[in-house]
């Protein structure tokens, strides 16, 4: 059976880099990789998702509904949405605990979920929710690095060790803000 990772967040958060780094790490760990990103309209602060499927029996690129082993989210509400759509029983939602209110919340017509609410609803699905946050990030896009660091520490994906993920992150980012990102990764992974 394929190991499925559903990645989600808000358009503009840099989900593409997160997905690319994860795909590279999965290949480095010896997995066969298939996946896809959402582009276009979704980048304007809408919900965005990216899919990653590890294993040769995954022929199609999208994670089917309710079949994600891991849901990785860059924002709390999107984490809940992603888990409700994709998480399978026994799976884990790992999300970066930042809040971007959608318009329905800002106009007062809908409520924004508290962390406890997210945990409870994920538990109803038979899964578990883990939140991560790192203080004092120089750039919000470094939340990606924090998420990957915690993913490594929790060992949620077979073969994606701290070394493999760290290497893939460095390779994907190239030179830009590399040291700061790796410092965030290490802090979230519990190495600093």
């Amino acid at each position: 059976m394929a190991f499925n990772i559903y990645i989600c967040g808000v358009g503009g958060q840099g989900i593409g880099v997160l997905a690319a780094a994860l795909a590279a790490a999965a290949e480095a760990a010896g997995h066969s990789v298939r996946g896809c990103d959402t582009h276009g309209l979704a980048q304007r602060h809408g919900s965005v998702s990216s899919h990653l499927r590890l294993g040769g029996d995954a022929l199609t690129p999208r994670v089917p509904e309710g079949q994600a082993d891991v849901v990785l989210a860059l924002e709390r509400l999107e984490g809940l949405r992603g888990a409700l759509y994709a998480l399978k029983p026994g799976g884990t939602l790992l999300y970066y605990d930042t809040v971007y209110q959608p318009i329905t919340v800002r106009t007062g017509s809908r409520a924004y979920p508290a962390p406890g609410k997210v945990a409870a609803r994920v538990e109803e699905l038979g899964g578990k929710a883990v939140a991560v946050a790192v203080d004092g990030l120089a750039d919000p896009r470094m939340q990606n690095a924090a998420l990957l660091g915690r993913l490594a520490a929790l060992g949620l994906v077979p073969g994606l060790t701290r070394e493999v993920l760290r290497g893939a992150l460095a390779d994907t980012l190239g030179g830009r803000n590399l040291e700061a990102n790796l410092a965030v990764f290490d802090k979230a992974a519990g190495a600093a």
Binding site: E27, V33, C36, L59, E78, P102, R106, T107, G108
Partner: protein
């Protein structure tokens, strides 16, 4: 990670983890492509990004984003008539714009070869419909190949280019959204040595190229003959694949193509008994021999496809003609004709015919949906400022018409600006129609600047000539923002050769106001004046795309610190204008009723400051606050 430029210029064969659009672009370089043209539209613009990643002087090919899809196709066709291998790519609905010339192309001897790449969008992920362009192949006598993966996108482009050049006819390559944007490891070949020169090889003797009256029939005969020849080649093509590569035929079989075929193959892996999947590489013309062979060897088949009943209709007709005994199943529900195929959907459809072999997955019960997050205009967007000002100037009952572009999002709450939308450039003429015989309700249409050049100019000329009693608001941001900031005519690569106001004046527009979109009072006043004007009036609301502007500013100066606004809590009277009416995503409404500014989102543009009735929004200097 390999850069786009390396992907396009590496001389030797290599392998890489790549997106479908990029794999296709590399395939273009491997095929020795000389000319590529496009109009940007999801899901295809990344093909252009890959082609543009090579600096202009070093490109072995010519590439341009043209004014619209028809222009793009004509340039590629002209280049092909000159002997140059050409390709043209655009989104699904772009084919409607290009159709007038496309429909002629099968009758032409395209000596250089021409591949027309379509980005269809089952699921309407980023399009105004789910148009099934497989119909166009039949109508235009143009063969159609359908890749399912990034690897196949490259391979089938090479195949399409080679067949197109050999038969001197156009070939469609139909991708869908999640083929374009899929990611997998792809094996690439080397780049060709010594491309043919640029000398023009057009010769009317290759034609004729003028289908008029009696010459139409020999040209049509030729198109039909080439189509038949293509079909014979497809009967033995390796692009048709069998899943699983079984030893003998199973009792049941599935016929499919593209991504739906892979969904079928995944569903079959969980079936109770063996079921074969025939994945067609070419869906027009159909490989009739291959299909008959597959059907004759099986008791029952299921035709599995996305969208319209295209394969189904033709394969059923084929089986009828050949008097095949095979029982043919197909999708049963109206809902099956909508949205994109997934392996669970495939299993559910197959279960309707073969309940002993497949199980429909149980519906997912996940309880109440969380608050939706629809796309929004970015912080600092000039369209938001314009909508806010225009909404205040509109009389009750006014009808607002949207066009395609970022500003289409204005139809959603809280703006509700632009409540009719058909297609690129329609807003002027639809508005003119809504204004006919209408003296009680003002009509205001919106239009972006890329769309202006794309398809709105004939409508504007018409509105000028008829003096249609309406107002057109041209939201000028200087780019094609929605699809990722490709240059449009009048900026970027083409240069500032076409200044909009002068062009509009020359087109005969008599009433025109040109306003900076952040100056809301001025814009409101200009709109009122325009609506009071009897006849066609035009207001330009101008502000650069701030997403592009900020990206470029940060690229130039990575250390750039932008300012921010803040809400002065001592002044805030909780009107919520900023958060709920102006509705910049940067404002945050807290449970205690207070409003603050999100530090990660605000770009410090300050277009919100004027909207606060209590004057509680203040500017912070860079570095101040948190």
């Amino acid at each position: 990670m390999i850069s786009l430029r390396e992907l396009m210029t590496k001389r030797d064969a290599f392998t890489g983890l790549t997106m479908g659009n990029y794999a296709l672009a590399r395939g273009m370089a491997e095929a020795g492509l000389r000319v590529a043209t496009s109009y940007p539209g999801s899901p295809t613009p990344e093909i252009g990004a890959a082609l543009l990643s090579v600096p202009e002087g070093e490109r072995p090919y010519y590439f341009e984003f043209s004014t619209n899809e028809k222009v793009a196709l004509e340039i590629a066709a002209g280049a092909s008539m000159n002997g140059h291998l050409s390709a043209c790519f655009f989104k699904s609905v772009g084919l409607n714009v290009a159709a007038d010339s496309l429909i002629q192309l099968a009758m032409m001897e395209l000596i250089g070869g021409l591949v027309v790449i379509l980005g269809d969008d089952p699921g309407a992920n980023s399009s105004q419909n789910e148009q099934d362009n497989r119909h166009f192949a039949r109508m235009s006598y143009i063969p159609m190949l359908e890749p399912a993966t990034p690897r196949e996108a490259r391979e089938m482009f090479l195949e399409a280019a080679s067949l197109s050049r050999r038969l001197r006819m156009p070939v469609f390559l139909r991708l869908t959204t999640h083929v374009c944007h899929a990611r997998e490891r792809v094996d690439f070949g080397p780049l060709p040595e010594g491309l043919p020169g640029w000398e023009p090889r057009f010769d009317p003797k290759n034609g004729p190229y003028v289908p008029v009256a009696s010459t139409v029939f020999p040209l049509k005969e030729k198109a039909l003959r080439k189509q038949d020849e293509f079909g014979r080649l497809m009967d033995v093509s390796a692009m048709n694949r069998l899943f699983p590569a079984a030893s003998g035929p199973a009792r049941l079989g599935i016929v499919s193509a593209g991504l739906p075929a892979l969904c079928a193959a995944e569903a079959v892996a969980g079936a109770a008994a063996p079921v074969d999947v025939l994945k067609l590489g070419c869906t027009w013309p159909l490989p009739a021999g291959k299909l008959c062979e597959f059907m004759s060897a099986r008791e029952e088949i299921f035709i599995l496809e996305d969208l319209d009943r295209v394969l189904e209709t033709e394969i059923k007709a084929l089986a009828f003609d050949r008097e095949l005994k095979c029982r043919i199943h197909s999708r049963r529900e109206r809902a099956d004709l909508m949205g994109e195929m997934t392996p669970p959907r495939a299993a559910a459809m197959l279960a309707s015919a073969w309940p002993d072999h497949f199980k429909a997955p149980p519906p997912r019960e996940a309880g109440e949906e969380p608050a939706a997050r629809l796309p929004q205009l970015c912080p600092g967007c000039g369209h938001r400022s314009a909508f806010h000002a225009i909404k205040r100037a509109l009389p009750p009952g006014a009808i607002t018409v949207a066009d395609i572009g970022c500003h289409s999002m204005g139809f959603m709450p809280p703006y509700e600006m632009g409540t009719v939308l058909l297609s690129m450039g329609h807003s002027v003429s639809t508005g003119a129609g809504l204004a006919l015989g209408n003296s009680s309700r003002k009509v205001v249409s919106f239009l972006g600047d890329s769309t202006f050049f794309h398809a709105a100019m004939p409508g504007i000329v018409n509105a000028v000539v008829q003096d249609s009693d309406m107002t057109l608001v041209l939201l000028e941001n200087g780019t094609t923002a929605m699809t990722g900031h490709q240059p449009r005519a009048g900026t970027g690569e083409i240069g500032d050769k076409i200044p909009l106001p002068r062009l509009l004046e020359a087109m005969g527009v008599k009433f025109m106001r040109d306003v900076e979109a952040y100056k809301q009072a001025e814009l409101s006043a200009a709109l009122k004046e325009a609506m009071d004007h009897k006849g066609f009036a035009l207001v330009v609301a101008r502000h650069p795309c701030m997403l592009k502007f900020m990206r470029e500013a940060k690229h130039k100066n990575p250390a750039l610190k932008t300012g921010r606004v803040a809400v002065d809590q001592s002044k805030c009277a909780r009107h919520y204008t900023c958060v709920a009416e102006f509705a910049c995503p940067s404002f945050v409404r807290h449970d205690d009723g207070s409003v603050t500014v999100h530090p990660e989102l605000c770009i410090g543009d300050g277009s919100c400051v004027q909207t606060c009735p209590a004057a509680a929004i203040v500017r912070e200097k860079p570095g101040e606050g948190k």
